[in-house]
């Protein structure tokens, strides 16, 4: 199957501190200049076959959102390669990206913050159509926008309202309609349901899956809720401190997790049966700071199976079963 997206060894980091003075520290009788960097994404590689859903899962600060924002070039990558539909867009300028923008769209976490409060809903959905000249006339654009709004479950008479007049679930529906207004090939959904109540979450997840079937686009889905991810994805990548520690088909990763972090994550989920936490030891410690990455495997300080080598060398990605990749010295 052809890949819609291929990411190779993607690197992203940010400088912290504003000026020279912030970087100077006084050590052993002299000033030392040290540039602090948040190493958010440290060599992430994965591919998304056309028409499928790939999910990046991990806890806060693991770099999943930064990965998404770098792929869509809202942030300039610091290293690695991004191939979108076979085209290397890593070094594309803003101007070069412009025609591609209509093929990649994003759905954001906070539905209200991502809609312009002064625009009517119809205008919000119609603007991208007009901007990318996907309609010949304004009335045709209006028609397209109304059609989409109907598809996501917003009634025609609501189209002239402002975002604040809608509930959170409806606002997310509007965000989805806006993303789909330009017929994208590829949609990044960054925690699209985590701000919503459970009963509404299910509505939005169903809607997102129905629309994907109808329009045949691909998703990069970012989430921290493993149950949601298991429900929606074809492939998953588990991230920890800016690295994918395990990736593969969702059946393989969920029913046969290999990496100790994946196992720990799965063991940490509260379950309706109510027995999960009682019988499994909790993972110790907390995520180390991305300012000072641990040596060797990033997980070794918390890992119950850590060996000597884990402290020294970052484990290379190995295939343990067809299409099931793990970065761990155990395998």
């Amino acid at each position: 199957m052809e890949n819609i997206l291929l990411v190779e060894n993607l690197i992203q980091s940010f400088r912290v501190g504003k000026g020279l003075l912030d970087e100077l520290t006084f050590q052993n009788g002299r000033f030392i200049r040290e540039t602090l960097r948040v190493h958010a994404v440290n060599g992430v590689s994965f591919e998304i076959p056309r028409g499928t859903v790939f999910s990046l899962v991990g806890e806060s600060g693991c770099g999943k959102s930064t990965t998404a924002r770098t792929i869509i070039k809202l942030l300039e990558p610091k290293g690695g390669r991004i191939l979108f539909q076979g085209m290397d867009i890593t070094r594309f300028s803003k101007k070069e990206m412009l025609p591609l923008r209509k093929q990649m769209q994003m759905i954001f976490q906070d539905p209200y913050a991502s809609l312009n409060p002064r625009s009517r809903v119809l205008d919000i959905v119609r603007e991208p159509i007009l901007f990318h000249r996907l309609a010949d006339t304004k009335s045709q654009a209006t028609e397209m926008a109304m059609d989409l709004l109907q598809k996501v479950g917003i009634r025609p008479e609501q189209a002239n309202r402002y975002p604040h007049q809608f509930s959170g679930g409806q606002q997310q529906r509007i965000g989805i309609a806006r993303a789909l207004s330009v017929h994208p090939q590829f949609v990044i959904a960054d925690e699209p349901v985590s701000a919503l109540d459970v009963s509404i979450q299910a509505q939005i997840l169903n809607l997102m899956m129905d629309l994907q079937k109808e329009f045949h686009f691909s998703y990069l889905f970012i989430a921290h809720n493993l149950a949601v991810v298991k429900h929606i994805s074809d492939h998953v990548g588990i991230m920890y401190l800016g690295k994918i520690v395990e990736k593969g088909r969702k059946q393989d990763v969920f029913s046969n997790p290999k990496h100790p972090y994946t196992i720990a994550l799965l063991n940490s989920i509260p379950r309706l049966e109510g027995k999960n936490l009682e019988h499994t030891p909790p993972i110790k410690g907390e995520i180390p700071s991305p300012l000072h990455l641990p040596s060797g495997c990033h997980f070794h300080e918390r890992c119950p199976y850590a060996m000597e080598i884990c402290n020294e060398v970052y484990p290379e990605e190995r295939m343990t079963a067809p299409n099931h990749w793990v970065s761990c010295h155990l395998y």
Binding site: G169, N206, K275
Partner: protein, 326 residues
């Protein structure tokens, strides 16, 4: 489990009088809590779970007002108690743990100071004894290096560690009841698991009752003995956790359970509850859930259902509850 009742709430009504109208955030909720029991209150936002929690300590601010009911804590009605009497209960016999661990700690005082404060107010200890107690509390909630960390400020702790500090403060005066309002919602899953395990362990060890307010049914089933489901200010279902999770009687509980993706079962499609929560200013007549309910009949839109009693002390606010035996 001992059967003596610690807290009994009868027909609690907390309303908010806003310019747009009256919001009945809690509308006739009754329940009781035994010593050492863990009660989970679940529901979606706007259901009245938190307001119920805050009402117990009379922490309702204008324009809110507790307009009716009784809150019997160890037999005395807190609604009739003087503010002075309440102050001696707040933080001593009943303490709270809030959702956001950063905003519930004061950023300009050390963690040790904030822990000690509770001890100074409620307990008569010498300075040295207080310090020892602080160290003991911090190590009880699993903070490494407690003696050193007493001198640290809240920003020097991570989210999970801050929540541990707050739990330590809540436990400082050996309360009989802790009300925890979404204590793990702001935390990551691995940290959430640590905190939930800690809370379970501590409530068993100290025999302190716990009211756990959360939107996450799975969290409740891991921790709670009994569950109370709230919708639009009403208690719609209550019973033992296992019964409710496996055989929900109220259609709303059933809908909630069906709409969450399950990590263990493959569902090709989620079954969401249709529609949205009604506007609290214009609540429908009759059952508040009627227009989203699959079992809705004519009577549901006309009359408010009473709280029907089912087997094993279960209750459901529905004309057509589904009592199944588990």
């Amino acid at each position: 489990m001992s059967t003596d009742v610690l807290l009994e709430i009868k027909n609690l009504q907390t309303h908010f009088f806003t310019l747009k109208g009256v919001v009945k955030a809690v509308d006739g909720v009754s329940f009781e809590l035994r010593r050492g029991e863990v009660l989970g209150i679940v529901g979606e936002s706007g259901g009245g779970k938190s307001v119920t929690g805050f009402s117990i300590l009379r922490l309702i601010e204008e324009p809110g007002k507790i307009v009716g009911g009784e809150i019997l804590f160890k037999g005395t009605d807190l609604l009739k108690a003087s503010e002075q009497h309440l102050q001696s209960i707040r933080g001593k016999e009943i303490s709270m743990v809030f959702q956001d661990p950063m905003t519930s700690l004061n950023p300009v005082f050390t963690v040790g100071y904030q822990l000690e404060e509770s001890l100074i107010i409620h307990q008569n200890l010498t300075k040295e004894a207080r310090k020892q107690k602080c160290i003991q509390l911090l190590s009880m909630v699993g903070i490494p290096n407690p003696e050193k960390r007493l001198l640290d400020y809240p920003h020097q702790f991570s989210g999970g560690m801050r929540q541990r500090v707050i739990i330590a403060i809540a436990l400082a005066s050996q309360p009989d009841l802790i009300i925890a309002d979404e204590p793990t919602t702001a935390l990551d899953v691995t940290i959430q698991a640590q905190i939930l395990k800690l809370m379970k362990k501590l409530s068993e060890e100290t025999r302190c009752a716990l009211i756990l307010i959360t939107h996450d049914l799975a969290v409740v089933s891991e921790l709670a003995d009994r569950v109370m489901v709230m919708y639009c200010g009403k208690l719609v279902e209550t019973g033992d956790t296992k019964d409710i999770i496996h055989n929900p009687a109220h259609p709303y509980t059933e809908g909630l359970l069906r709409s969450i993706p399950d990590i263990e079962q493959e569902k090709s499609r989620l079954e969401p509850i249709p529609g949205i929560v009604p506007n609290m200013f214009e609540l429908p007549q009759g059952c508040k859930f009627a227009d989203r309910c699959s079992r809705c009949q004519t009577i549901c839109t006309q009359e408010e259902p009473p709280l029907f009693e089912g087997p094993k002390g279960r209750k459901a606010l529905c004309f057509f509850p589904l009592w199944k035996d588990s």
